[in-house]
């Protein structure tokens, strides 16, 4: 459309006022300018006629009664939940349980959707699977005492168990260490013979470094291996005697 100024009004301004002019809601002076522009501008006049014709046709359409379940179907296909007609206006004689149900239904309406149910199911499944992997079972939780006294008792029993475990480990280490000392004291010469003679050329610092490097092989180090210690010098006959004894 040409943007011409005719009768003090531009075509764009005419187009902006067209809808209100067809509704006859324009004030007097503006309406006069509008009509003056319409008389002078052929394009705008044609547009006015076409818009008026279209409006006339549309206004002539009969009102169509919407289908009975139109709103219900739209809500069902868009948000997935449908507010029941009965929940909106309950009769006065409804019981308190029905009123409570209606109120709860209106509050939980956004939640009671298939999508939310699916998400909730997946979350429950994930949590259950993680709990199973972690070794937590529902039966264990049932016997759990969460009172203050129960928690205190659990704390002290756990602490006692840890202390007992530590003491037992220390006792085992001490016994192993004593046994090793006794064995070394009983056979000092054999160990000296088995150990290769170190060259006398080593300086003091080299010896110290060697000692640090082999500190894990030190005989005083506690050994956790549970295999029975077998004397390398034991003869097959002595081994057989020991087994048959």
């Amino acid at each position: 459309m040409q943007d011409q100024t005719k009768s003090g009004m531009q075509c764009a301004e005419f187009e902006a006022l067209l809808a209100e002019a067809l509704d006859a809601t324009l004030p007097g002076t503006t309406m006069a300018a509008f009509e003056a522009h319409q008389k002078e501008c052929e394009a705008c006049a044609a547009m006015y006629v076409q818009a008026a014709t279209g409006m006339h046709w549309l206004k002539g359409l009969e009102d169509i009664e919407p289908p009975k379940h139109l709103v219900h179907n739209i809500l069902a296909q868009t948000i997935g939940s449908v507010p029941e007609a009965g929940t909106q206006t309950l009769p006065v004689s409804a019981s308190w349980l029905e009123k409570l149900k209606a109120r709860a239904a209106s509050v939980f309406a956004p939640v009671m959707t298939p999508r939310f149910a699916m998400s909730f199911g997946m979350a429950f499944f994930s949590i259950t699977m993680l709990a199973n992997v972690a070794g937590v079972h529902a039966n264990d939780l049932r016997h759990l005492d969460l009172s203050a006294r129960g928690l205190q008792k659990t704390y002290y029993s756990t602490e006692a168990r840890v202390v007992r475990y530590y003491e037992n480990i220390r006792l085992v280490y001490e016994i192993e260490s004593r046994v090793r000392d006794l064995r070394r004291a009983a056979t000092p010469e054999k160990q000296e013979e088995n150990t290769p003679k170190s060259p006398s050329k080593k300086t003091g610092s080299q010896e110290q470094e060697h000692k640090y490097q082999n500190y894990s092989r030190d005989v005083t180090q506690p050994v956790l291996a549970s295999f029975p210690v077998v004397d390398e010098q034991e003869t097959p006959q002595a081994r057989l005697n020991r087994r048959t004894a």
């Binding site: 547009m47 014709t53 279209g54 409006m55 046709w57 549309l58 206004k59």
Partner: protein, 83 residues
């Protein structure tokens, strides 16, 4: 409801005209169609339409104008084809 005082011929003509208008409405673009339906069939004012469609009020008026104009052109074209 159809006008009971009209003759059968007039009623048939009215039904045909309405059918043509409905067909022309279906040919409009969705933006123009929803604007003219809300205005001319639902009798909503411009502010309400702007809120519903989430567009400025000036755009609402422009779409209504273009929708009516386009509808009139389509109906005139159909009328020429029929005659």
């Amino acid at each position: 409801m159809p006008d009971q005082s009209a003759s059968p011929e007039e009623r048939v003509q009215s039904q045909q005209a309405q059918k043509m208008v409905h067909e022309a409405l279906q040919k409009l673009s969705p933006e123009l169609r929803e604007a003219v339906i809300l205005r001319d069939l639902q009798d909503m004012d411009y502010k309400e339409i702007a809120v519903v469609l989430r567009i400025p009020e000036g755009t609402v008026k422009s779409r209504i104008n273009r929708g009516r104009t386009e509808l009139a052109r389509l109906l005139q074209r159909n009328y020429r084809q029929v005659n």
